[in-house]
Symmetry: C2
């Protein structure tokens, strides 16, 4: 009994010292009512769990990761996840959704910007998305490539729609570039897939500790793509 309680306290303290968690929790502050504050804390904890789950799913693969594995990494018991998520698939879904949404939002500002030239937009797209990917430590956007098949039909559909949003932004840039004569005319659909591949798969081979910096690689990547679609 006593040891169990002691352990709970230890655990609670541990949670609050987890860097990410404590910072966000602090940011919530005392501005809101206790009710809302609690809800926010819950969602923070939920995101923290998702973060951990994402790492594990990416490292070990979805099916190779058991609820027990998840629980171990999160310092709790498997059952506790069911206070936050409907089931295991739901965890994967939320992980993938977050990753994909962040990818989209890292380039969303380009969508309704008709002023900037397509070339500059392309540079911005590549650099901001690649930069974002390089900044995430463990989990990877490629999880949304590999994990999508384990999702339920509805969830899969939602993710695909999200991804289409990303694609449509990219395609629009290419279309404008071709119309303006800045890019050589090619199949905008295929080419946007090629470009996305280059960016997204960087998370497999790029390392922050490597020979080249994010900026240097980003520049090489942009030059490659830019020449690839017949610019310059």
């Amino acid at each position: 009994m006593t040891s169990s309680r002691d352990f709970d306290n230890t655990r609670a303290v541990w949670y609050h010292f987890s860097a990410f968690y404590i910072i966000l929790k602090g940011a919530v502050g005392n501005l809101t009512g206790t009710r809302q504050r609690k809800e926010m804390q819950t969602s923070i904890k939920k995101n923290w769990l998702l973060d951990k789950a994402g790492m594990l799913f990416w490292q070990k693969g979805y099916h190779a990761t058991s609820m027990k594995d998840l629980a171990n990494v999160c310092n709790c018991k498997p059952a506790n996840f069911y206070n936050y998520f409907k089931n295991k698939e739901d965890i994967l879904y939320e992980v993938i959704k977050n990753i994909t949404e962040q990818g989209v939002s890292s380039i969303r500002h380009l969508d309704d910007d008709e002023e900037t030239s397509p070339v500059e937009q392309l540079r911005s797209l590549i650099k901001s998305h690649f930069g974002y990917l390089a900044s995430m430590k463990q989990s990877s956007i490629l999880l949304s490539d590999t994990g999508i098949k384990y999702l339920s039909r509805e969830h899969r559909k939602e993710i695909i729609e999200l991804r289409d949003l990303y694609d449509s932004i990219l395609r629009k840039i290419i279309r404008r570039g071709i119309e303006d004569g800045e890019f050589a005319p090619t199949d905008e659909q295929v080419v946007s897939n090629l470009i996305a591949s280059v960016v997204v798969r960087s998370s497999i081979w790029f390392s922050n500790k490597g020979r080249l910096s994010v900026d240097e690689v980003g520049e090489i990547m942009f030059n490659f793509v830019y020449s690839g679609i017949g610019g310059e």
Copy 2:
């Protein structure tokens, strides 16, 4: 009992009528001694099993594929696999080894060929690798990408060595192209990653049933890459 036996016979007949199997088995012919012939037939059946297993691993993922699933596709019982393979991991290993070896051997001739121009070599590499990937039905996920983490340490090492061979061939082509002045000088390491990304991820978005043929997409892909590294 009787019905079970009847079913077995049906199954046996079915095996021998499976197109791939019967052709190969016929090809073995009566030229060799009975002992060797039997061994060859065994290995043919084994490869046939590997082929089926590969498709399933590819579609569903390794851990999501049960021995029962495999047995269903191969019209036999799970236990029978243990007459051919040590365990499940062994099946995965052989599948991945085959895939990787085929991928590598389709481009190996480029390695010690100093005659053909780098441009043509690059075209050949891209088209044959992409063509190979496209020929796999049920386009889904990069098995050799995601599957290797489920292999034992030794098996994984072997596969990685094979893959390194692929990389080194690609890098060599790029290096020669830069030296010859056919390609613009860039970082050969990064660029080879970019190229491999483009080719490998095609298995996610390319469909044989789509608007464009393998050849058309292959051409667009090559042009993209070729311009990308500053050719033409």
